[in-house]
Symmetry: C2
Subunit: 384 residues, 2 copies
């Protein structure tokens, strides 16, 4: 029985992680859960899984959680400190991190410093703190297993091929809801969060529509697999059946396919290097009948080139990309700015940014704050 | 520098193997070559690669070969004995066997008994002598690396996944030239040997048209990967880009893709477990744009079910399938029988056959002779 901590257990990835745990009966015991502020669902999960600890960031909701957990043996922790504490507990075998945004970084680093295996669904951690995370993981011999379907695919394709040189990564992209739309100037919030294939949270749906999700994934892949950006090719594949692929030195391509269902990469991150029966429906290619591929329309979706530009500029630039995106997506979802301005403003902020090479955590945090204030200035200006 | 023997060096696979050797400059030295009777090409190859030995089966052509090789240091050997001798030479690192038909078995076994690594393009050896070959390979710790594009794909997909249980093999098939043809009663030899994707020899082209090649490949996969026939699914994929795939226990599918070019699996069989730059053109999925998949039409192409039936019946039955097919294809190419009768007659012969379980080499050879005589009877009857 492996002891697992699930950070962000009330989000869509966290909830699916618990479904996978249910499927792998008697193999994983969730000994700690955490969320931002969904006290109701966290309480419900606690009554089901009886973790030793739960952690909530939003202190206002703590009394409600306390109330709902009266009579249980679960200890309630609070804030960032509690989060880092449960991520680095001695008895934990695997930390599953599905926190959204930069908040996922401190517990990831805490877990790495204890040499834990980490199933990482929090892509922002790698995007902003990639160099710190990967060098710490190396130093503390902590294994980072990707949960994202694309990175899990790449991880599965590379697996067992240490002496085979990688020529290119084919990072697949659905193309999002506006792939075939000529004009994205006046798209609405509702159109934006209606993703054609994956059921996802709002922030990620907007990222999918701008293709900023691919930008973040390019950066993530760069750090995770130590691949230079020019070896990462984005391929539009609307059916989302091939989740990504790796081209090796001899021009042989190894690809990973499945029905689009997050429970598969989640489970693989838990069971790796083994596989177990899953709740993911099996794929019948003769039913699918047709897989299509297109190049990226870089004019309509500048996000992909933006990732390359951010990686070239290096240092704190990827953190700036991520932070300004978080702000601007929030503003779009609050009806403060138009959809097409998200990537436009990020481009401007990246161009304006003075990158700090090999940054410290503090320097990255400062760059994030700077990016946020730059984005805010634009948002305030746009409202006028 | 690895020393390699190429059996069947004048056939299309053999010629491509030498192109691959050319590409992998200074990595492989062909120290022996062999062919059936193409003395001209064998002489030419000898003058290029300066092997220590060449072997030819057809003794009538030996004087011609001797004539052309006057003044060279290459020793000329003859017949099956010479073939087995060069396949089992002490100094050989890898035996590349691209002989066509059952004639490929004796040198394969000879190489296995010396614990050689064998790149096996001779599928008939496995189809007829599968149990003997695989148990001998285990006993003598000889590695068998498949060269067939489909089996190479499966081999590449399985590689490095020892503790991952295989659920299904997806054996891809182009569907051959008659995939979309309603009536195959009156197809001509010319139509039959015009393969839509792969440039191949005549015998293999006919096998592709009847889909007997897939029948042979199912049997080959069964022995090579120790997979029960019911776990092998044939999928029609006319573009021949995904060369085959493996579905694991969690419903994740790992697939191998490339431009359709035999030099890729040939090279992988030579360089495994490494990869090297190849002469295979790289694959641009956005240029391909579309991959399609269909189920097999078992009514039109009974060969696939025939393989399953032969494996169920077991023992000598797969040898009977192979041998009767060899005879009947030959008869078709000699205008003696109609195309659609090939699988029909094989079905009848298989049904009539009394299988010998765990057969000896002699019992397999007897079964082959019996199948040939049964096929001949039909051919003679058809001529009348």
């Amino acid at each position: 029985m492996k002891r697992i901590v699930i950070l962000g257990s009330t989000g869509s990835i966290g909830v699916n992680a618990l479904r996978v745990v249910d499927n792998l009966k008697n193999e994983f015991a969730p000994i700690a859960l955490s969320c931002f502020r969904n006290a109701e669902l966290l309480a419900q999960q606690t009554l089901t899984y009886h973790p030793q600890f739960v952690n909530m960031i939003d202190s206002e909701k703590i009394p409600l959680l306390r109330d709902k957990l009266i009579g249980t043996k679960t200890t309630i922790l609070e804030g960032k400190e509690g989060l880092c504490r449960i991520a680095s507990m001695e008895e934990v075998d695997l930390v599953f991190n599905s926190i959204m945004g930069s908040a996922g970084f401190p517990p990831t680093l805490a877990a790495i410093k204890k040499g834990k295996r980490i199933a990482l669904a929090n892509k922002e951690t790698l995007v902003s703190y990639g160099t710190i995370i990967m060098s710490a993981a190396k130093k503390y011999k902590s294994e980072i297993i990707p949960v994202d379907s694309e990175h899990s695919a790449i991880f599965q394709c590379i697996n067992g091929r240490k002496n085979q040189k990688i020529k290119r990564i084919l990072l697949m992209a659905s193309g999002g809801p506006f792939r075939n739309r000529d004009d994205i100037l006046n798209v609405t919030i509702e159109e934006t969060i209606r993703h054609p294939v994956w059921a996802m949270g709002k922030k990620i749906s907007v990222d999918s529509a701008t293709m900023m999700n691919k930008a973040l994934e390019i950066i993530e892949a760069h750090y995770l697999f130590d691949i230079p950006p020019k070896k990462i090719n984005v391929v539009i594949h609307p059916e989302c059946i091939i989740h990504s692929a790796v081209e090796f030195e001899d021009n042989s391509i190894i690809a990973q396919l499945s029905t689009p269902d997050m429970t598969l990469p989640i489970q693989y991150a838990l069971t790796y290097p083994e596989r177990k029966q899953s709740i993911t429906k099996n794929l019948d290619l003769t039913q699918i009948s047709n897989l299509t591929f297109e190049p990226v329309n870089h004019l309509q979706f500048p996000a992909v080139s933006l990732a390359m530009r951010a990686l070239e500029k290096g240092g704190t630039t990827t953190a700036v990309l991520n932070s300004s995106n978080e702000c601007l997506v929030d503003a779009f979802l609050n009806n403060q700015i138009a959809f097409h301005t998200i990537t436009k403003v990020i481009t401007e902020i990246i161009d304006k940014h003075t990158a700090v090479e090999n940054p410290s955590i503090l320097e990255i945090q400062n760059a994030e704050l700077w990016a946020q204030s730059e984005a805010q200035q634009y948002i305030v200006y746009a409202k006028k």
